[in-house]
């Protein structure tokens, strides 16, 4: 493939190539009407050709944008490619966005053509139509419920296809020429990223960027046409789009679309993907489901499960990576594989997974280890929309819970003095659409992309991301202080629900901790510790001891990371109440508002640093019914042991 790669520099060209060399292999499957309807590469190519001709006949021009609104559907992916055939730029949009959120991208990119999945999406587009006068054609795939829609903008996908076939018959040469006109430097697609502030930005990615990154990762992992991927995340997210469009177009593997969100798990089990991608929250939800379902199991199964999961924790990772673990362990692990791990992978639909990625946010080490220990080759990667995803990937045999791996072929990394990660790679975006200001801010003249993430590359060559740059501070001795990194580390302990750490501009790091009511509650129950409520529980010495253990474990961990050894937590207190978005302590997406908390609880912060053993607090709380009451409590402040690196290594 690599020989002809330069010629195959756009997705449409790749498609035509697949239609030639693996014409009858499955390109896409979709669970529809009870079975996995299958499109071969040839069928996809035929559909795309007809669609492209239809779009051209309807007046779709080179350089124009085509909005794609809907879930993972083969026809929508075909529409993406059809637009690219004509030199157009598909703009996938989140299917769960409300109408108002769709207006900006459509106005911004002056979108005239849109392909929508069904009535629901059409309704949203029609709603914003008055604000988007440019939008003149909406094609819909599923005609259900649209019989009496009389808007002149609406056309059925099938009609478009039919017209396209007609046009293709009349002038078969047209499309070949159009496709040939495309080059790798052309824009392939535009993805809108929802910035935390301001309007979304359209990230413009070229064919070259996407193809280069997709093939770099594919080469690293040895992906091939026999691989299978389940497309279940929003296609408007680059993460999904790369796995279900760019990479299959590069390697020729098959993507499968579930029937509906409700049947996703069943569909995944049926299709048995070999290549899997999930953000940590999905993996977490899955693990929770596993735990809950195992709770209901009989004593024998639970015992088996516990025994073998313990074993897996100890030796699973080693065995997965082919490191020696002892023959007896190996034999036991095989037994466990027969009784627990194998069946577990099977019911999760992961029996055939040979490569799984997680990315997007930090993943808890326990969660990460769980999947690896049952024999799923879960790895971390680092990337973003602006980098066409693949920046760093953990290669097989070098998988660690706290890194995102070394740079993939072609990527250069460097850091600013503020430790901001800068990236240069063939996969970088061209620009933010119609936003030169933002483009200049993000991508400097030398082509370095400013990620906004703070991190460092360890001795092992692996990149570690610690925090957003804007959150990173310094201790008084000018060493690095990365609050979110530490908070996350604490939150990975099941007993800790939320943590807020302080230290910017101070001599040491101290923390507020929210205990996890359920986990600590269960723990207390087992200890026969009676308590009257959350506040009572949170103030128990036993609970403080429990939390201190967590804190000290983390301190020991931190001691091993030279950059962060000084960020060990010296003192902490357990808050008397859960942090709550209603009280302005968390954002609506449950992110800690560190500043607001520091201000609100300044007395407590002061106590952390002045050596007091207890501190009195009186706070106003809003009850659910709107009443306001006061809560007063005496909170204890406790010290935690900190370590030197040598100390920990000796202990280990």
């Amino acid at each position: 493939m690599s020989a002809g790669l330069s010629a195959l520099d756009t997705f449409p060209k790749l498609l035509l190539q697949h239609a030639k060399v693996r014409a009858d292999l499955p390109a896409m499957r979709e669970k529809h009407l009870g079975i996995w309807q299958t499109w071969t590469w040839k069928e996809v190519a035929d559909e795309v050709r007809a669609l492209a001709c239809g779009l051209a006949a309807a007046g779709f021009k080179r350089g124009e944008h085509l909005a794609i609104v809907g879930d993972n559907r083969p026809r929508l992916y075909a529409a993406m490619c059809a637009a690219q055939c004509l030199g157009g730029i598909p703009v996938p949009m989140y299917q769960d966005a409300v109408a108002a959120e769709m207006a900006f991208p459509i106005q911004n990119a002056e979108i005239a053509f849109a392909v929508a999945e069904d009535q629901e999406q059409v309704d949203k587009l029609l709603e914003i139509l008055p604000n988007c006068p440019a939008l003149k054609r909406i094609y819909y795939d599923d005609p259900r419920g649209m019989r009496h829609y009389a808007q002149p903008q609406l056309t059925a996908y099938d009609k478009l296809l039919e017209e396209g076939r007609e046009a293709l018959r009349r002038d078969p040469a047209f499309l070949e020429a159009e496709i040939a006109k495309g080059s790798g430097a052309d824009t392939a697609a535009m993805f809108f990223t929802s910035g935390t502030t301001g309007s979304p930005k359209g990230v413009v990615l070229t064919h070259h960027a996407l193809i280069d990154r997709a093939s770099a990762a594919a080469e690293l992992e040895g992906l091939n046409e026999r691989d299978v991927v389940l497309a279940y995340l929003p296609p408007a997210w680059i993460g999904q789009n790369v796995f279900s469009y760019a990479q299959p177009f590069v390697t020729g593997y098959c993507i499968c679309c579930p029937e509906s969100a409700e049947t996703m798990m069943t569909d995944m089990r049926e299709i048995g993907p070999t290549y899997y991608f999930a953000p940590p929250r999905v993996l977490e939800a899955l693990l929770t489901q596993v735990s809950i379902r195992m709770e209901d199991a009989g004593a024998l199964k639970r015992t088996l499960y516990r025994y073998f999961m313990d074993l897996a924790q100890r030796v699973g990772g080693a065995i997965l990576e082919g490191r020696p673990a002892g023959f007896a362990n190996w034999l036991l692990y095989r037994l466990g594989d027969l009784c627990v791990y194998g069946p577990l992978r099977n019911v999760l639909g992961m029996s055939r997974v040979r490569l799984a990625y997680t990315a997007g946010e930090a993943i808890g080490p326990d969660l990460f280890r769980f999947y690896r220990s049952i024999g799923i080759n879960l790895k971390q990667l680092y990337g973003s929309t602006e980098t066409s995803v693949f920046v760093c990937i953990q290669p097989n045999g070098q998988v660690k819970a706290d890194t995102v791996g070394p740079a993939v072929r072609g990527v250069e990394l460097k850091f600013t003095p503020q430790r901001e990660l800068l990236i240069r790679s063939p996969g970088l975006f061209k620009e933010y659409y119609k936003n030169p200001q933002a483009t200049i801010e993000a991508k400097d003249a030398e082509g370095w992309f400013h990620t906004g993430d703070a991190g460092y590359v360890g001795e092992d060559g692996h990149l570690r991301i610690i925090d957003r740059v804007k959150d990173v501070g310094k201790l008084i001795d000018a060493t690095l202080f990365a609050p979110k990194y530490i908070e996350n580390k604490l939150k990975f302990f099941p007993y800790v629900n939320e943590a807020v750490v302080f230290g910017d501009g101070r001599d040491r790091v101290c923390a507020f901790v929210n205990i996890d009511a359920e986990a600590v509650g269960n723990w207390a129950e087992k200890k026969n510790l009676s308590y009257s409520g959350y506040t009572d529980l949170a103030s128990r010495d036993e609970v403080y001891a429990l939390v201190r253990e967590c804190v000290e474990k983390m301190n020991a961990d931190l001691a091993l990371e030279p950059e962060l050894a000084n960020s060990q937590i010296h003192r902490f207190l357990i808050l008397h109440k859960m942090l709550d978005a209603d009280d302005g302590e968390l954002t609506r997406t449950r992110k800690v508002r560190r500043g607001a908390i520091a201000e609100k609880y300044h007395e407590l912060v002061a106590a952390l640093y002045d050596g007091r053993q207890t501190v009195h607090i009186e706070a106003q709380v809003k009850y659910e019914d709107g009443r306001i009451g006061t809560l007063s409590a005496d909170l204890k402040v406790r010290d935690a042991q900190t370590f030197g690196a040598a100390q920990v290594q000796k202990a280990a």
Partner: protein, 263 residues
């Protein structure tokens, strides 16, 4: 949303002077009304008004002592269920009448029995035509499953389903027969608000998508007034009102007998 896809047409079913009694109980007395093509026709009335009996007469479960039923120009003194089904009448029941021992898929497949042509010998051999027929009908049934949004339960035994879903499956089974006239006996009874909204949408979608004429019995007055074109009101086996929802709302006899009385 503009004009309906299938405008209301000619009278397809007329019930003329139908009386039905069980022993001494007069369930229906001289009922006359008609149903037009593509319309949604509601039958309402207090408990025991004879609504279900009326549906049972229309599709031949009960045989009236008096009166005639005209269906698409053919006149019947009493229908039999098989004949009614062959003439394109399908229905659902007040107390769900699904086949408890079968899966959702099989239940809906039974709805297509009249369209199957292969004999049992061919079926037993599972040879060409029988197999092809089975697959073709499976596909048709899958379309219905898709339409009714019950993909996630297609292989589940119906007995295990929640009530609201069972109601949906029952409607799906009726739809599988591709009826021209659909009788719905309290399709929303016992449902929560969300399920009712869903069911309303399905009923309207059926009418809109397939142009199916629908006769429905329903207790929820809001629903009836919202979705039906015309309404018949029964009370103690007699017809006391007939007209558009607006006319019914202002009909004094109806108000006295039914709407005025809290129930």
């Amino acid at each position: 949303m503009s004009a309906r896809a299938h405008p209301v047409g000619e009278v397809v079913l007329s019930v003329e002077n139908v009386s039905l009694s069980f022993g001494g109980v007069k369930a229906l007395q001289g009922i006359t009304f008609d149903v037009r093509e593509h319309e949604v026709r509601a039958i309402i009335g207090p408990n025991g008004a004879g609504k279900s009996s009326m549906l049972n007469v229309i599709n031949g479960v009960y045989h009236p002592q008096q009166g005639t039923i005209k269906l698409r120009g053919r006149e019947f003194h009493d229908m039999n269920s098989h004949e009614a089904a062959k003439m394109g009448i399908a229905r659902t029941f007040q107390n769900i009448a699904l086949f408890k021992g079968m899966s959702v898929l099989d239940n809906i497949m039974t709805g297509r029995n009249l369209k199957m042509r292969c004999n049992f010998l061919q079926q037993a051999l599972w040879i060409g035509p029988a197999r092809r027929e089975e697959m073709a009908h499976r596909r048709a049934v899958e379309e219905v499953i898709d339409f009714m949004e019950i993909q996630h339960i297609r292989k589940t035994p119906v007995g295990k389903l929640a009530y609201g879903l069972q109601k949906r499956v029952e409607l799906a089974r009726a739809l599988a027969a591709e009826p021209t006239l659909l009788l719905l006996d309290e399709p929303m009874a016992g449902m929560n608000l969300e399920e009712k909204q869903d069911m309303c949408r399905f009923v309207l979608d059926v009418n809109d998508h397939f142009g199916t004429t629908i006769v429905l019995i329903e207790h929820d007055m809001g629903v009836v007034m919202d979705i039906s074109d015309r309404v018949v009101v029964l009370d103690y086996g007699k017809k006391i009102g007939d007209g558009t929802p607006d006319q019914i709302r202002t009909n004094q006899a109806v108000i006295d007998a039914y709407l005025g009385v809290a129930h």
